[in-house]
Subunit: 153 residues, 2 copies
């Protein structure tokens, strides 16, 4: 379903999806047309789920990134779903993972400053279903590519 050419193509597109067909052709080892046909097919198949520009938060006044571990009071399906919906709707939430382990949710937040974070916590964590939360402030975004390695099966 995914061969070596697709693997190379996906690696290239995860680094830069604005390359021309000719540029992709060099890296993949196929013609321009073949590369673009494959890219289109990978999008239709849902292997590529999105194509996005990545914005530098600090360039738009969001110099503060934090990871927050949230623990819920009790794991009731309904309450979990409403919390998930709120996280999806909140623009400051870059990522939200529902996890097993000591925490129930792991959030990645992008904030203007600490006052912003203060406001966020009172607005979203005042919820009686939130037992508690722990904040980890980012000092360095060591790696934020989010790329998935693709190996031929």
């Amino acid at each position: 379903m995914i061969d070596g050419f697709d693997a190379k193509l996906l690696a290239a597109l995860q680094r830069d999806n604005q390359q021309t067909g000719a540029q992709l052709a060099e890296k993949v080892g196929l013609s321009s047309a073949a590369c673009l046909r494959r890219a289109q097919r990978l999008r239709e198949e849902g292997v590529i789920v999105a194509d996005v520009s990545v914005v530098a938060p600090e360039k738009v006044g969001r110099g503060l990134t934090m990871i927050v571990l949230v623990e819920m009071e009790r794991d009731q399906a309904e309450l979990l779903e409403s919390f998930k919906a709120r996280m999806r709707a909140a623009p400051e939430v870059m990522q939200c993972w529902y996890v097993t382990g000591r925490a129930d949710f792991v959030l990645t937040l992008t904030m203007r400053d600490m006052a912003d974070y203060q406001a966020f916590t009172t607005r979203h964590f005042a919820d009686p279903n939130v037992r508690g939360y722990e904040t980890l402030v980012s000092m360095d975004a060591v790696k934020r590519t989010g790329a998935t390695p693709v190996s031929i099966d």
Copy 2:
């Protein structure tokens, strides 16, 4: 430096950066040429740092995502840098944050299975500088857009 048009443009491009100039024009309220000129300027200025395709990990045999909190033995600059370099080089590491708080690093990993994770931990956490680590296994990627909200200053 960034006006309302840029804000709209960045919002559109963070959702889909493969839209044509005409499609962007509709959403932003400027001509096609103006939108593409601005997009190019935002890239030169470093506001847009990358343009990438997003791959669905489960479609390429990576159904297991985990968040790992890593605590280092002692915060010695040299040792931290070598750990950072290793995380940057490891393909399974989608993200790596250096943080304050209970942990020193927060990693997001994409794995094929638990055996894969086992191998990863012994390879990277056997380091005598790693005091310990805690694993949170993802059950649901509630939100993974990673988009930065842009508001006019």
